[in-house]
């Protein structure tokens, strides 16, 4: 596979045949930088003299009376998600459009997402969005405890406000450090599951990027004004898990080009079969929802 880059923007990885055809069609420029396994540095595509010649075979002759069926013309649009074009369109707009793209068209977005391009910027996208959304969620909870009657907040003790502030002091470091670590751990887990279950040689980087874009976007559900009532938050937690998992299954399926069943196995099996994954998932959701005292007494 050949990795192609234009003006520090990764266009993705392609087969030599695709690159050859892309050069002919204008999709790629001879000045685009490219790299493949074994090369020391990135080089302009013009220096790739060993690319296969474009298929110049004469199209098969049609039998008399049959209509010519041409393959569909595939439009090659701009790089998605929009966060990959943040320098062109601006960070704020790029984040908003990426959220819309991942929710409105997850199939197209993750199918076309560049599989390379580094870890840093997808991580920043995920980290910043998750942190902002979690802090807004916690602030909402603090407002809720002032508005709601105490009889609905018995699980937060005698002083619900103090309990939530205490939680914030406790969850903030976990959130700030965990937000940087969890994407790597979960992407690693899904990558191992992919290697174990499927025959696809998807890179860790591709899985990581899909995970970051999806979970970063999914964190906006925490902006919903959910009162810290235990029953409401349990329902909310189930909703968050279903939404996040549903979209994550699609994201991994498209990024790794596997079947839906394989993607379900990759995403769901670790949580079902592993205490640590389910603990991280539940802990994360509870922490974000600002109801950690609800976990007291559930420990084993």
């Amino acid at each position: 596979m050949i990795h192609v880059n234009r003006e520090r923007q990764n266009l993705g990885q392609f087969t030599p045949e695709d690159v050859s055809a892309g050069l002919r069609s204008g999709r790629f420029l001879p000045t685009d930088l490219a790299w493949r396994e074994g090369m020391e540095t990135w080089q302009p595509l013009a220096t790739f003299t060993d690319l296969p010649a474009p298929d110049e075979a004469v199209p098969p002759t049609l039998a008399p009376g049959t209509e010519e069926v041409l393959p569909p013309i595939v439009e090659v649009g701009p790089v998605v998600p929009e966060w990959e074009r943040r320098d062109e369109v601006g960070y704020f707009r790029a984040a908003l459009v990426t959220i819309r793209q991942t929710f409105a068209d997850p199939i197209g977005t993750f199918h076309r997402m560049p599989r390379t391009g580094g870890f840093l910027w997808p991580l920043i996208y995920s980290y910043v969005l998750q942190t902002i959304c979690a802090l807004v969620g916690l602030t909402e909870s603090l407002i809720w405890v002032r508005v709601l009657p105490k009889s609905l907040l018995t699980h937060l003790g005698d002083n619900p406000e103090q309990a939530l502030v205490g939680n914030l002091v406790f969850t903030l470091p976990v959130m700030l450090v965990g937000g940087l670590i969890f994407p790597f751990l979960f992407a690693g887990l899904y990558y191992l599951m992919l290697r174990l279950i499927t025959k696809k040689s998807t890179s860790y980087e591709a899985v990581f990027r899909a995970y970051c874009y999806m979970m970063g976007s999914a964190s906006i559900v925490n902006l919903l004004p959910m009162p810290p009532i235990i029953a409401v938050q349990m329902v909310f937690m189930v909703f968050v898990i279903i939404v996040a998992f549903g979209y994550l299954i699609v994201a991994i399926r498209e990024a790794a080009e596997i079947t839906t069943l394989e993607s379900v196995a990759v995403v769901v099996l670790p949580v079902l079969l592993c205490c640590f994954c389910s603990a991280a998932l539940m802990g994360g959701v509870f922490a974000i929802a600002g109801s950690l005292p609800a976990l007291q007494g559930l420990g084993h």
């Binding site: 870890f119 470091p173 450090v177 670590i181 174990l196 640590f276 603990a279």
Partner: protein
Amino acid sequence: MFVLRRQRDEETDGELLALLVLGGTAALGIAWLKFHCPLPACPFHALTGFPCLTCGGTRCLRNLLAGHAATAFAWNPLIFVGAVAAALFAMYAAVVTTFRLPRIRLATLNSRLALALRLAVVVALAANWIYLICHFSRGG
């Protein structure tokens, strides 16, 4: 199968990344255990009554941190081996990144060997699970 080679400029430094992630995970995990933070119950155990693949993992890590290797192994052999392997890898990563030494890289992996590795992982997971079911049915 494995080769030793220098880190390329355009490559992601996998060892440094792994070192940071493992270090952060260890710090977070130790702090979590140290401050007796809440641990949610295992949903698989709650639903089926059987331990999951990583049940006993927390007790394994607690014993490992306390230096009780045999007890730690008995709680969950898979977590024990995983934790020791992670610690060894972190040491290797720390050495090669600090002294800019050549890195160990997977050169080739033919399909037969890949299949054998997959089977080995599945067998190890299954064996660990059977052990845990027996261990927990005896009352841990």
